[in-house]
């Protein structure tokens, strides 16, 4: 998948409007930041893009083909991965968690796990039970586990929340590496500065609408930009 385009995303929870006519596009090898106050709908948008939350309405285009939600959901689940703000690690060791998304022979899986452990600098922790890990280590294990699955799009919900500077720096480096491998990244964050070296653009969710950060809604472009991100002005 080289480009994922979701247009006209609407989502309500009860009477509360969360997303309204949101358009977003993700292209391989780009990293977008998603900002907005608490409850603005950042996580909801990420979950919709990951195929985990059904929108009230959305037109999903994958590689130029428009798909109905049922078909799109399968494709999104297959191509995108969502990382919770506080990642969930299955009970067991780090190795067990890293093995989870892998298939193939035992030798092939072991080799991939080794690769992941070395890539993330977690080699010393492979047999560690996950309940003994620190918050930053858990986040990195979740990131490596996600990487091992080999998604095209990674949707990260506050990946550096509650991390110290070193951990945050290490996570940003890992994201930089993922981007370098051609993965599309969408990062929901309250701290865009932390990702300034990785991301090209910052989007902001406000009153259910998505806008370019720092621009008034009326100034938003109404066409797909060269990097493939489209933002539509308020109606």
């Amino acid at each position: 998948m080289n480009q994922l385009l979701c247009r006209n995303i609407h989502k309500k929870f009860g009477r509360r409007r969360i997303l309204e006519a949101v358009d977003i596009s993700l292209t391989a090898g780009e990293c977008l930041l998603l900002c907005g106050r608490n409850g603005a709908g950042k996580s909801t948008l990420l979950r919709i893009l990951a195929g985990m939350e059904r929108p009230d309405q959305a037109d999903v285009t994958v590689d130029g083909t428009v798909r109905r939600w049922r078909q799109a959901k399968k494709r999104l689940l297959a191509e995108c991965i969502y990382l919770h703000q506080q990642p969930y690690l299955f009970e067991g060791s780090v190795r067990y968690n890293l093995n989870y998304p892998l298939s193939g022979t035992r030798a092939a899986r072991q080799s991939r796990i080794r690769e992941g452990l070395e890539w993330s600098g977690l080699a010393d922790l492979s047999e560690q039970p996950v309940h003994q890990l620190s918050g930053g280590e858990r986040q990195r294990v979740a990131l490596v586990r996600a990487w091992l699955r080999g998604p095209r799009v990674m949707l990260l919900d506050e990946p550096t929340a509650n991390m110290d500077t070193t951990c945050r720096q290490r996570t940003v480096e890992l994201l930089q590496a993922l981007k370098g491998q051609g993965m599309a990244l969408l990062v929901a964050t309250h701290d865009p500065q932390a990702f300034s070296g990785v991301s090209e653009r910052t989007l902001e969710l406000h009153d259910g609408r998505l806008r370019e950060s720092g621009l008034a809604p009326t100034e938003l472009p109404d066409k797909v930009t060269p990097i493939g991100h489209r933002v539509r002005g308020t109606a």
């Binding site: 919770h84 299955f90 699955r149």
Partner: protein, 233 residues
């Protein structure tokens, strides 16, 4: 006092002397109850999973129903199934009354509410992120369900032990549906009831000791299992 201690000594002699009748009754008891729990468990876990993670009309009513069935007396379950399985009943053609399969059906009916209610509680207590994480990591619905069961395994095992504990010791349904036939449907609780009514305490005490030992073992296992359960953030 003397007769109690005499009976207890006789009971121990029966138990450790390898009395064939006694061990046959124990064997029937375990065969019937283990079969019942083995058949009830997959169905119960499926229902528990649906109640914990499904969203459909009548879900709350079903939860209430299974919780209510928890306190349903075994003898009433036995009576209901007796009516259904008796010759004049709608399932009379199956000719199951006073057979081991009838006892198994009765025990399934008794175990199911416990397994569903406790299984539902333990699955519902599992972090919802576990399901989402499994799905986003590429697991299909079945694998995600198995993953969730693994995460909730201590609670599910506790449900299993509690369910087995209930059916191995129940007398009402087994008596009504099995008929307490020697060498065929006489199990531990029905044998205790019979021997006691005849004033033969030795075999009753011996079988009671087996139940007591098993209850102790099950509770020990439960403690061990619950002690191992560790919440994962």
């Amino acid at each position: 006092m003397g007769s109690i201690s005499d009976s207890t000594l006789q009971a121990l002699a029966l138990l450790f002397g390898g009395d064939p009748n006694l061990w046959e009754i124990i064997g029937i008891s375990f065969r019937v109850s283990l079969t019942a729990i083995a058949l009830a468990t997959p169905v119960a876990i499926g229902i528990a999973f649906l109640l914990a993670y499904g969203r459909f009309p009548g879900r709350r009513l079903l939860i209430t129903m299974f919780n209510t069935l928890l306190s349903f007396p075994a003898v009433v379950v036995g009576l209901t199934l007796y009516i259904l399985l008796s010759r004049q009943g709608p399932l009379g053609e199956w000719q199951l009354l006073f057979t081991q399969p009838a006892m198994i059906i009765g025990q399934i009916a008794l175990a199911l509410p416990i397994l569903v209610a406790m299984g539902h509680s333990s699955l519902q207590a599992t972090d919802r992120r576990a399901w989402e994480t499994a799905r986003t990591l590429g697991a299909g619905r079945l694998r995600s369900m198995l993953t969730l069961m693994r995460e909730a395994r201590f609670g599910l095992l506790a449900a299993l032990l509690a369910g087995f504990g209930r059916i191995i010791a129940e007398v009402g349904a087994s008596m009504m549906l099995g008929g307490n036939i020697l060498h065929y449907t006489r199990n531990i609780p029905t044998a205790i009831a019979l021997e006691t009514s005849k004033g033969e305490f030795a075999q009753g005490i011996a079988l009671g000791l087996v139940l007591l030992a098993m209850a102790f073992l099950l509770n020990g296992l439960l403690q061990l299992v619950q002690g191992k359960g560790r919440p994962v953030a």
